[in-house]
Symmetry: C2
């Protein structure tokens, strides 16, 4: 433990108790600042003995690295920006997804930064802002469209990102998506099992990519099962419940009234159930309903309905993994995750 030139470094006993820095630790351990920096970063150039000693000193001194300084020096923010729709979102999407991401990010030093889009009239504005000010190392957002301008922008500028949902761009990019095609096939199959002949799918219009996947799955299922499948055209994520109800009413008054409903999301399920109730139709009797369940609250819907699960917490976790991979420069094809639906379940609670 012999130290050379200990005095050359100012002892800094003057300042009483401001937070210890690399210098403080270096002085205490009798080494250079660089050495401490490297030791704490597990740089192989540092001898094991020194590394251990420095780690110990740093710990007893209660050293904690200054994020601002690291960020200034390295240019990395250790922040992931999540663009959030706080209106018209699936009921529990925000909580569950956020929870999942947070879980996965714990311990990595990454923080989640929220930008709620309520403010940005121009959707791109938020993203431009984040890039220009280097507010994050990566961006993630939802409700992806087939040729999403945000995706185009981020691809063009080679800024790390991942989307919830696929796009139709030629250039591949990181994403996490739910297999909506499989979902709708399973749902149709289940309703057919129950003897239903005309199935209505309550879902957003084709503006979003997942809408297209649903349509595609619906077409497939219709062909292979032989039942009639109807997709009302004018429903949107932002549609007022009244509009949706009106649309369902029109459909029901038509020549062939649907006897099976598939609801893509909890809000859609609630609206559909309310509509059926208002019409005096009871799921399980005259009609059947299968809905996408994204959180335990679907269990409390009455009358009981059948559900097929999208695990949003798992989605969040997968998203975090994908983002971290993208940041550290993994190949794109390893960053495309498609999650499978689980079910159908007959809700029991």
């Amino acid at each position: 433990m012999s130290r050379k030139k200990l005095d050359s470094i100012e002892e800094s006993t003057s300042k009483p108790s401001s937070r210890p820095t690399l210098r403080t630790v270096a002085a205490e351990a009798g080494v250079a600042v660089t050495t401490v920096s490297r030791a704490l970063a597990d740089d192989p150039r540092i001898a094991e003995a020194t590394r251990k000693r420095i780690a110990e000193v740093a710990h007893t001194l209660g050293y904690v690295p200054n994020r601002a300084a690291q960020r200034l020096r390295t240019g990395r923010t250790k922040v992931i920006s999540l663009l959030l729709n706080t209106r018209h979102e699936f009921l529990s999407f925000t909580s569950e997804f956020l929870g999942g991401m947070s879980e996965e990010l714990a311990g990595t030093g990454y923080a989640i930064n929220i930008t709620a889009d309520s403010l940005a009239d121009d959707r791109l504005e938020a993203i431009r802002h984040i890039r220009r000010h280097s507010l994050a190392d990566a961006i993630v957002f939802t409700r992806t469209e087939c040729f999403d301008d945000r995706v185009r922008y981020l691809l063009e500028h080679d800024f790390p990102f991942a989307t919830h949902g696929r796009t139709d761009f030629m250039t591949p990019h990181p994403f996490v998506d739910f297999d909506n095609e499989a979902f709708v096939r399973m749902a149709v199959e289940r309703l057919v099992q129950k003897g239903r002949k005309h199935i209505c799918i309550v879902m957003p219009n084709e503006r979003y990519t997942f809408g297209q996947h649903l349509r595609f799955g619906a077409r497939q299922a219709a062909i292979s099962s032989g039942v009639k499948v109807t997709i009302p055209e004018d429903v949107d994520l932002d549609s007022e419940p009244d509009e949706i109800a009106a649309m369902l009413r029109t459909l029901h008054a038509g020549p062939e009234a649907p006897d099976g409903y598939i609801c893509v999301g909890e809000v859609m399920a609630l609206i559909t159930l309310a509509y059926l109730n208002d019409m005096g139709l009871t799921p399980g009797c005259e009609v059947d309903v299968v809905a996408k369940r994204a959180s335990p609250i679907s269990n409390h819907f009455r009358p009981r309905i059948e559900t097929i699960d999208e695990d949003l917490r798992a989605t969040g976790r997968a998203m975090a993994k994908v983002l971290l991979a993208r940041i550290s420069g993994a190949p794109t094809d390893e960053m495309q995750v498609l999650l499978k639906p689980e079910g159908p379940f007959s809700v029991s609670g």
Copy 2:
């Protein structure tokens, strides 16, 4: 516009197109770095003419300040940390509250940073971490308890924060709360108007401060209206729906079955409605239900119930204001906001 000693500052035409810094702007405008810094911060020491000129140069150069550098220099993070419960939270709390905060924070340069508590077994750990690493200028969290250890910790360390919900500490601190006392009084009054004689309040136990306020309001309402008010003891925010249903069943089987229900929150409402449905009881007929509505989704519940509103978006906005005030050191008594319930409304859609 005569410039002296222009050459003394390196023209830096060497680097091609990295982001402009204060130095770049200073060189271009023919002034010192300090002057630019001050000009952009609207420091009164800078002459109006210079300020204007610098602003212009900065704009055409596309200058954008480096947050990391500012943060390192000033010690301020421009971040507000939100501790979030992603499990068992009121259905739409996260989205709405977050949206509100985000709205209010837009343009202030402050970012919202999420820490989902799923990971922190020790609730204090997340807060300690934020403080130790100076990850935020202020912290906000929910589900406040009467003598909340997080509040105690933050008060002790004089770290800026605000809570959603009050506490019973002597030392006043910033908060935004909903007037649950008024809520329950209104709800009871409404049920009494409808001729109900025995009211059951489905709500979390007294662990949280707002539970106490509800109890207090309930007692007042019971006395002034003369009806019987029952509060089941064992319900908690984390209770399984089954437990709650079991509890309601026991109560219903007792000597006096309730004929009115007050639900504090959307999840509680869903559970109660499911229970009533399972029991063959119909709100509006044998019983009546009044629930707290925190988002438009309550409108879709069937059978229809009456609601009293808590505006979570407004809560978020108020919270942001309070936090900003706290950060800039306003007196505490100006940072205590109590929001009033609105209603009751008979849901129509």
